[in-house]
Symmetry: C2
Subunit: 339 residues, 2 copies
């Protein structure tokens, strides 16, 4: 009898590890394959970058509260964010969609209006894509090609002890925005006459529905003459993504709780929903901010950039990865959130 | 009230046209966007090529008779074929998959074994991919990055009157292989004790289950010093794909029925299934052969290549696109098949 191992017994990371274990790169122009935000390819004078993402209705988004125009925008922004995390510039994108007959032509128009706005905002061209019918809702697959100068590419596995740990923007908002939207959906399902209570919550809602890729910071770092020593985008939450940097770089890290950038609306939403804003910041995900390290020598060059917060530092591997709490204790950082 | 237009009222090509109409390329390094087998990007000394395809269970493949290893292979081959159609060389691929819990880890291993074999055969590296859970079967999205010398890239829209029309391999087999597999599936569903009657049909079955991208011919054309004047891969059937070349080049064409390369097994399967082998060759699809045009001056250089058949010629636009039948009449070529 053939043996059958359930995928659930491995988990998503386990499955990915199993797939990757069988892969060996043999082509001379493959610089880095699986394992970073984007693949790196030698294309001549520069490096080419390639990243791809899958978004499925019912798994990654809920169309009962996700406007299609925003979904189109977010599909592009999320993948552009992976190019940003390599310190690169997105150049071209492809978008595959599969749609069921539940969708009208006008709905598809809305989706592509969002795609086109994102293309304009991030200076990329939509150069291809496949369309198909689907038997179960909307399905999106985006690939982005980007470029980076060979001496400017930034990986996850090159953080060094004593480097400073930086994060852009603020954290936890996208997760709390999602929780608010889910709550309003339940209220609406119970009583369709209820008006949504989202006043004063526009910022966290927007963090969920229309995130930005931080290309602005990539441009500003270049202007400041700073090349991060390592970088990743915060798509799974700061904790999970910092653990990737530390594991792949063979280092530890300390994050100061009091330094975590959290917006006022995120605090308010967390209070209203009886959730911890710190946990949202550490494990929430989908913020699409950049988490990066710089050598101490570069501190002066970016210390006044209001988009960048210094949240901690890289330590020796033996020190582990920990959160230095407001109460001056240290707790190990874990990737488990409540998602 | 908002207006609602059904997608079915546009059809797939209509929808694609509507999507594409809104797209304008503005980036200086985008050479060609939507509208050819792959996008063409200026990457420095060479051109980069990017193509992407979607494959959905229940739409593009039926796992009751499609072995996962073959499906992995075909997923790569079909996209590599698009790079070949630009006269380019595939370099790196990404594979996104979404899977339901119906699939075991061993099943996923099989799929990736096929992916890896194809990567080896076509000299590409698997450099990335996204995995997700799915609520409805298996879903695959493949992107391929390739390269081509700037003076060697071949488009669809550059065929010239009096060019010779060539096709690689033979046609119609993949479609008839599918029909045979569908028939056996029905037989099996009616009586699970019946053994499949596929003896002597291995070639057409293989054409459906394990197609090749014709990179071999791309290498041979280069060796022969021949650059086609236009090219497309035969994924929708010779008729449909020739109509693309003719419409985009602003030319007509004549195809000689008696020159169509059709394998003996394809004839036999067509007879058995009471289908026309000519229709299968013209409208069957999924053969992944190359349809290309060369200037008459290049005829001598490739006339002895057994993989290439001269099936007709390019004519003035006013002559239209037609099939010259064995009975010496001319009938307009149409893209309608029975798929």
């Amino acid at each position: 009898m053939e043996s059958r191992t359930e995928i659930s017994s491995l988990g998503e990371f386990g499955l990915i590890q199993r797939i990757n274990k069988g892969v060996t790169n043999t082509q001379p122009d493959t610089v880095t394959g699986i394992g970073d935000d984007a693949a790196v390819m030698d294309i001549g004078e520069e490096y080419g970058l390639l990243t791809t993402d899958l978004l499925l209705e019912g798994v990654h988004f809920d169309l009962t509260f996700f406007p299609l125009k925003h979904l189109g925008y977010k599909s592009i922004a999320a993948s552009v964010s992976d190019i940003a995390a390599m310190n690169g510039y997105p150049r071209q994108v492809t978008v595959n969609i599969a749609i069921s007959n539940r969708f009208s032509v006008e709905a598809i128009d809305e989706f592509y209006a969002g795609v086109r706005t994102a293309c304009k905002d991030f200076s990329v061209d939509l150069v291809g894509g496949d369309t198909s019918s689907s038997r179960s809702g909307l399905l999106i697959s985006v690939s982005v090609f980007g470029k980076v100068k060979k001496d400017k590419v930034v990986y996850r596995n090159t953080a060094k002890p004593n480097d400073l740990l930086c994060v852009t923007g603020d954290l936890g908002g996208a997760y709390l925005g999602l929780q608010l939207l889910e709550r309003e959906k339940q209220v609406f399902l119970t009583n369709p006459d209820m008006q949504p209570e989202l006043e004063g919550k526009d910022y966290v809602i927007q963090r969920q529905l229309r995130p930005e890729a931080r290309m602005d910071v990539i441009y500003e770092l270049e202007e400041a003459g700073v090349t991060p020593t390592s970088m990743i985008d915060v798509s799974d939450g700061l904790a999970s993504d910092l653990l990737h940097i530390c594991a792949q770089s063979g280092v530890g890290a300390v994050v100061f709780e009091e330094r975590l950038p959290i917006d006022e609306q995120t605090y308010l939403a967390a209070t209203e929903l009886n959730l911890s804003p710190i946990t949202a910041a550490l494990n929430g995900g989908e913020d699409y901010e950049l988490l990066f390290t710089v050598s101490q020598a570069d501190y002066e060059k970016i210390k006044n950039n209001p988009k960048i917060t210094f949240v901690g530092y890289i330590a020796d591997k033996s020190e582990g990865v920990s959160l230095h709490t407001k109460g001056d204790s240290r707790v190990p950082m874990t990737a488990q959130g409540w998602t």
